[in-house]
Amino acid sequence: MSVTEQDVRHIASLARLELDDARTSSLVRELNGILAHMDVLQAVDMSAAASDEDAIHGATPLRPDALSSLPLASERGTFAPNYQDGFFLVPRLSTHE
């Protein structure tokens, strides 16, 4: 399997990354270089794929349904890029322009 320039643009769009043409073509090379090393996995026989038998963890712990909010040592406005009247502001969504 190998990645095309179109793939790279599609992935960048999914990941919300902006790539110029030079970076796009170098990423095509870099990703294909890396993915070539992944090809050994395609030879793995998956017919004997394991089930839950050796899951990594046990069961997830549960917490009681109680108000126990982790406190914030500083106000939201001190770390937010654009914070007004208690809201986080973002550029107006295109669906509501």
Partner: protein, 479 residues
């Protein structure tokens, strides 16, 4: 023109009645200042981790069991990845290929040949809600409030087996009733604690393959759901009839113009890249715990309806009304217990009591006339100690003043008076006040007897025994 068949599947998101959020201890309450109920976890601050709410698991399990689903002993949370400002982590923690529950069915309430029409369910899974965006408050900006982010939801997915708008409505009403009975959710569409997405396609009747589907969102009432299905069905049929093809897309229901319009795509194509949530090991439920949850479910609406018909000899329509909510049904049974008369209990509740609740806006549990007192009132009426009208009058007084019906009836002189002396006195007063009518009555106009009885009843404020008054009046003309 082809004869088309409607194919509808519903996805219902329903907010679970927990105190705190699904993965953190923040409040799920409404109406607080924006972002007041947020913490490192629901703000997705770097380094914060989710921890699952035990009560959300219990409520989701109970909902699944009440819907007849098989609850899985092991289910797995998964990340659904997409960017949106109301989704702080850039992914929603949901369940994907191993949901909490599978199977199950919901009764549409419509009877096909007398048999219930069941819509099978695909799955029930748990997930977290997103936050809210406010668009009209800041020029050029959308404002994000994450108070709702992380609120626990169950998503209930039906098979695409719904064939009419009415069946969709019936399905939703039954579903809502079950969720309310089990006290899992407020299930209020207007308030947003129940949200419905419609998947809809059409195909030539008899065809096996499914057509291209569209999804309708932004529906805020059951009747909107029904209307939207009708409108979209007609739209799709018209496109196909004109030789066109249905475009797979998300549509928004426009309540004002009664139409659907395409949602502008939510920031590009959808590829959610689901994978198991590594911050949460699998949810493992003991079989014995699931059994205990099942055993502790209340009687569900369908079972209750069947029992009421058999046990109390009531009609299907009345029973439907009496079981609208678990509270009303329970109240009814308490009144039956106190009065020993199911027929009268049903009449009182569905008539006078519901009318009174409609006027006052009170919930049945808050109504001042308790089941015990209403029962006692019904007994007085059934024994003939109170006339119909006196009973209704007494009910009004009980609503106002509270108190036991017998003592109130005595105080107000509402108990039936059949003592000749008192009745004769009222008749004499009526004769004196209405000489014309009484004169014509004595002269042989028998039809005026009803008018005179009415005056006597009024004078006695309903306490006179009308049968006895009639006898005494008749005796005057023959005597």
């Amino acid at each position: 023109m082809t004869d088309y068949e409607l194919v509808v599947g519903l996805e219902v998101h329903c907010q679970l009645k927990t105190v705190s959020k699904l993965f953190c201890g923040c409040a799920t309450s409404f109406g607080d200042a924006p972002n007041a109920n947020t913490c490192p976890v629901c703000l997705a601050l770097p380094g914060a981790l989710p921890v699952l709410n035990a009560n959300a698991v219990a409520l989701a399990t109970r909902a699944s069991l009440a819907l007849g689903c098989t609850v899985q002993q092991t289910s797995v949370f998964a990340r659904k990845n997409y960017f949106y400002p109301d989704l702080p982590k850039g992914y929603q923690i949901s369940q994907f290929d191993r949901p909490l529950a599978t199977g199950g069915a919901v009764d549409t309430g419509l009877r096909d040949d007398g048999a219930p029409v069941l819509i099978p369910l695909t799955r029930v899974h748990m997930e977290e809600d997103a936050g809210k965006s406010v668009h009209d408050r800041f020029a050029g900006f959308s404002a994000i409030d994450l108070n709702r982010a992380g609120t626990p939801l169950v998503e209930i997915v039906s098979e695409p087996d719904i064939r009419s708008a009415a069946a969709a409505g019936g399905y939703l009403r039954t579903l809502k009733q079950i969720l309310e009975y089990t006290d899992v959710s407020d299930a209020n569409m207007e308030e947003g604690s129940l949200r419905v997405d419609v998947n809809i396609s059409v195909r030539a009747r008899g065809a096996a393959a499914l057509g291209t589907k569209t999804e309708i969102k932004n529906l805020n009432s059951f009747s909107n759901v029904e209307r939207a299905i009708e409108v979209e069905f007609a739209r799709q049929c018209a496109i196909l009839d004109a030789g066109g093809a249905i475009e797979q897309q998300t549509l928004l229901w426009d309540d004002v113009h009664n139409r659907v319009r395409p949602a502008r795509s939510k920031e590009g194509s959808h590829d959610y890249r689901y994978f198991p949530e590594p911050d949460l090991p699998p949810l493992v439920l003991a079989g014995t715990w699931i059994d205990a949850q099942r055993a502790s479910l209340p009687e569900l609406p369908a079972a209750k309806r069947a029992r009421f018909i058999a046990q109390y000899g009531l009609g299907a329509v009345e029973v439907e009304q009496l079981t609208v909510s678990g509270e009303l049904a329970t109240h009814f049974e308490q009144v039956v217990e106190a009065s020993g008369d199911a027929r009268r209990a049903a009449n009182w509740l569905l008539g006078t009591v519901l009318a009174s609740l409609n006027t006052s806006g009170l919930s049945i549990e808050r109504h001042p006339v308790t089941p015990a007192r209403l029962g006692a009132l019904i007994r007085l009426e059934a024994n003939g100690d109170l006339s119909n009208s006196a009973a209704r009058q007494l009910f009004g007084i009980m609503e106002q003043d509270g108190g036991e019906p017998l003592s109130l009836a005595r105080r107000e002189g509402l108990l039936k008076v059949s003592d000749d002396g008192a009745l004769v006195e009222w008749i004499d007063q009526v004769f004196a006040e209405f000489p014309t009518e009484s004169g014509r009555f004595m002269a042989g106009e028998a039809k005026l007897q009803g008018v005179l009885v009415g005056h006597v009843m009024k004078k006695s404020r309903g306490a006179a025994d009308p049968r006895k008054v009639n006898q005494l009046l008749a005796a005057r003309t023959t005597g």
